[in-house]
């Protein structure tokens, strides 16, 4: 699924431009604990999180995550968005809660990084 489709499904706003909405997303990880992301992700995932500080961006860089969706209507500050832009990490923001965001993407065929569903 392309990132642009994820944006539509989650009714999400784009937080910086331009980035590639054709970016292919194959797996999703959802967490607020960045150590969990570092431990469990495989690289290449879309991260869904309610955490909005710069550690999310640094974590995404270290773990080779493809893009980030912030849930529950939360937005990172300008400096954090600028950091993501420097790193080339696309950012989206949705008003959906984490569970609902995950469920919508799963119903449309996106799997999790552990491979137990999908």
């Amino acid at each position: 699924m392309q990132l642009g489709e994820v944006q539509g499904i989650l009714e999400a706003k784009i937080l910086w431009e331009p980035f590639d909405l054709h970016l292919e997303i194959e797996m999703v990880e959802a967490a607020d604990l960045m150590s969990d992301v570092l431990d469990h992700s495989r690289g290449g995932e879309l991260l869904i999180t309610g955490l909005v500080n710069s550690q999310v961006i640094w974590t995404a860089e270290m773990a080779d995550l493809k893009a980030i969706v912030f849930v529950r209507g939360k937005r990172p500050d300008g400096e954090t968005i600028a950091l993501a832009k420097t790193k080339g990490i696309p950012l989206l923001a949705t008003k959906l809660f984490m569970y609902e965001a995950c469920a919508r993407l799963w119903m449309r065929g996106l799997t999790g990084s552990s491979g137990t569903i999908g």
């Binding site: 710069s54 550690q55 270290m62």
Partner: protein
Amino acid sequence: MENRVLEWNYEIEGRDFRNAGKISSKVKEILKELGFDPPFVRRVAIASYEAEMNIVCHAEKGMLHFTVSPGELRIVVRDKGPGIPDIELAMQEGYSTAPPEIREMGFGAGMGLPNIKKNVTILNIVSTVGEGTVVEMIITTPFQ
């Protein structure tokens, strides 16, 4: 790779959460430029980042010394801080002394040292309470 040792030194500021990750990002860039495989680079970056976060979260300041030599990488992180009273306990997943503000950053859940251990070949920790901690990570490099 050439048969020589490359080395870098970086300072890490305690409590500078905004930049916590900057040094590991540099380590990652260096490894990419040297041509290591992405999964290997990712593994080293994660270990380095957890070690960097430990300094930012717990210490006043620290240094990261990074060397690349034929067959292995070595990252030594040395801090001036409170030290670890019981290293065996600190190695257990879920054990944490981190205050709430660090948990709000998405860390401090007692996974830092276990996460480092999973990503390196050898992990050595020496700590003196009231003085500081030295974390040495050795990672055997894949064939280039």
